[in-house]
């Protein structure tokens, strides 16, 4: 397992440059027709994608990058996105304390996340990518969002504990599946992070299912009215990447 992870790490940066979506179809050149057809159809509405390393943290990293990039590209045209994001991240500190996390355990990750967000004011696209390719910064941000998802689930146990299997408690579930690096995410973590940050996500499910040529989109919505279009993630079994909708494809995406 470790060998596979190391190999993956050497081959791919934590977050890569964006590429034309049709490049993805080339991966399936000799493979599933269903995949190829779906990518073709997806390319009518979405034109670019960005890979997040398949190290078990891909969802959190993709989510954080997509959000921060959205904010950065709109820093002049819609500065309120930045103000909202900063306020949201500042509020996560209260959520973590409410979930009984010790300040000592989360303050470093929180600080790095907040500072990176504040730096977006003068970041270029290249600098944002460099930050997310840096182990220290990137993993601290992943860790912060893991703790935020965990804190949300712990403070909303009544709503989510009934979905747990094998008589697991929410604390056990979070410690096994959310709070540790490299643990893969399930829908419950997507729901938690969406609601905790008030940022909506749309997940394009690209499966080898032959029944349909269209890609299924599943929305994850916060409890409040979303203040920006959803971040779009591409899901292939076991893995999340970032997807760009044509109409949202702002100038400056690299």
């Amino acid at each position: 397992m470790q060998a596979i992870k190391d190999e993956e790490a050497n081959a791919h940066p934590l977050v890569d440059h964006s590429v034309d979506l049709l490049e993805l179809a080339e991966e399936y050149e000799n493979g599933s027709e269903a995949f190829k057809k779906k990518i073709q159809n997806l390319s009518d509405t979405h034109d670019r994608m960005r890979r997040s390393r398949g190290d078990g943290n891909c969802f959190y990293r993709a989510f954080a990058f997509a959000w921060f990039e959205r904010v950065m590209l709109a820093i002049k045209s819609k500065p309120e996105l930045h103000a909202n994001a900063v306020r949201t991240i500042e509020e996560t500190k209260d959520l973590l304390l409410a979930a009984q996390f010790e300040l000592l355990a989360f303050e470093d990750f929180y600080q790095v996340t907040l500072e990176t967000l504040q730096n977006l004011v003068h970041f270029t696209s290249e600098e944002l990518l460099t930050a997310f390719q840096n182990d220290e910064i990137s993993n601290s941000i992943v860790m912060h969002f893991r703790l935020v998802a965990s804190a949300f689930l712990k403070t909303h146990q009544d709503d989510y504990a009934p979905f747990l299997e094998f008589g697991q408690t929410m604390d056990e579930f979070c410690s096994m599946h959310v709070e540790a690096m490299g643990r893969e995410s399930e829908e419950m973590m997507l729901i938690a992070l969406t609601k905790a940050t008030h940022v909506s996500i749309e997940v394009a499910y690209l499966s080898g299912n032959q029944a349909a040529d269209e890609v299924n989109f599943l929305p994850f919505l916060p409890d409040t009215a979303p203040y920006m279009p959803p971040l779009v993630l591409l899901y292939r079994p076991g893995h999340y990447d970032i997807l760009y909708r044509k109409s949202h494809c702002l100038e400056g995406v690299i």
Partner: protein
């Protein structure tokens, strides 16, 4: 600062050291071996009362990875220890020192795992309760497991003799 010694890890270790100095839990002292290297710690653990380890003071080292606290440290007793969950070379094998998914000893799913919400203090407290209550389900020292299970009196005798050795008696 050297790049391989990540600033997050160093900052966190300095905070934990400060906290441990200000509010040391009973029976535990721990800190960096030298001021120059915060990634190598020494700990002294007092044997818990009403256990055969009582009266002993057991030295151990904690070696932190450069991505601490994302990954856990390795803890190793540097004195002779006879205990079901301590390898013969002194390495401590309890669930809190392993991230979920890294499961050499098939820990119960409810047992506490490593994640950055844990800390040196929590590890050392777990080690104290491990000394008081060995877990023979996930043994590291098979001989100690066997004796602990079959002949508690003999187990206590062996432990007491190692306690005397650590005290230099």
């Amino acid at each position: 600062m050297h790049k391989s010694m990540g600033p997050t890890a160093l900052r966190r270790l300095m905070t934990e050291y400060r906290e441990l100095t200000l509010h040391a839990p009973e029976g535990i002292t721990a800190g960096p071996t030298t001021e120059e290297n915060f990634f190598e710690w020494e700990a002294l653990i007092e044997g818990p009362q009403d256990t055969p380890y009582e009266g002993g003071i057991f030295p151990a080292t904690l070696t932190f990875p450069k991505d601490y606290p994302l990954s856990p440290p390795v803890m190793k007793f540097t004195c002779e220890m006879f205990h079901p969950n301590i390898y013969q070379d002194g390495t401590v094998c309890i669930s809190i020192l392993h991230a979920p998914g890294d499961d050499p000893n098939m820990y119960e799913s409810s047992s506490e795992r490593w994640s950055p919400v844990q800390s040196v203090e929590k590890i050392l407290l777990s080690v104290l309760s491990m000394l008081a209550e060995p877990n023979d389900e996930s043994g590291a020292n098979i001989e100690a497991c066997k004796v602990w299970r079959s002949d508690r009196k003999h187990f206590d005798e062996i432990v007491r003799s190692t306690v005397r050795k650590t005290l230099g008696l």
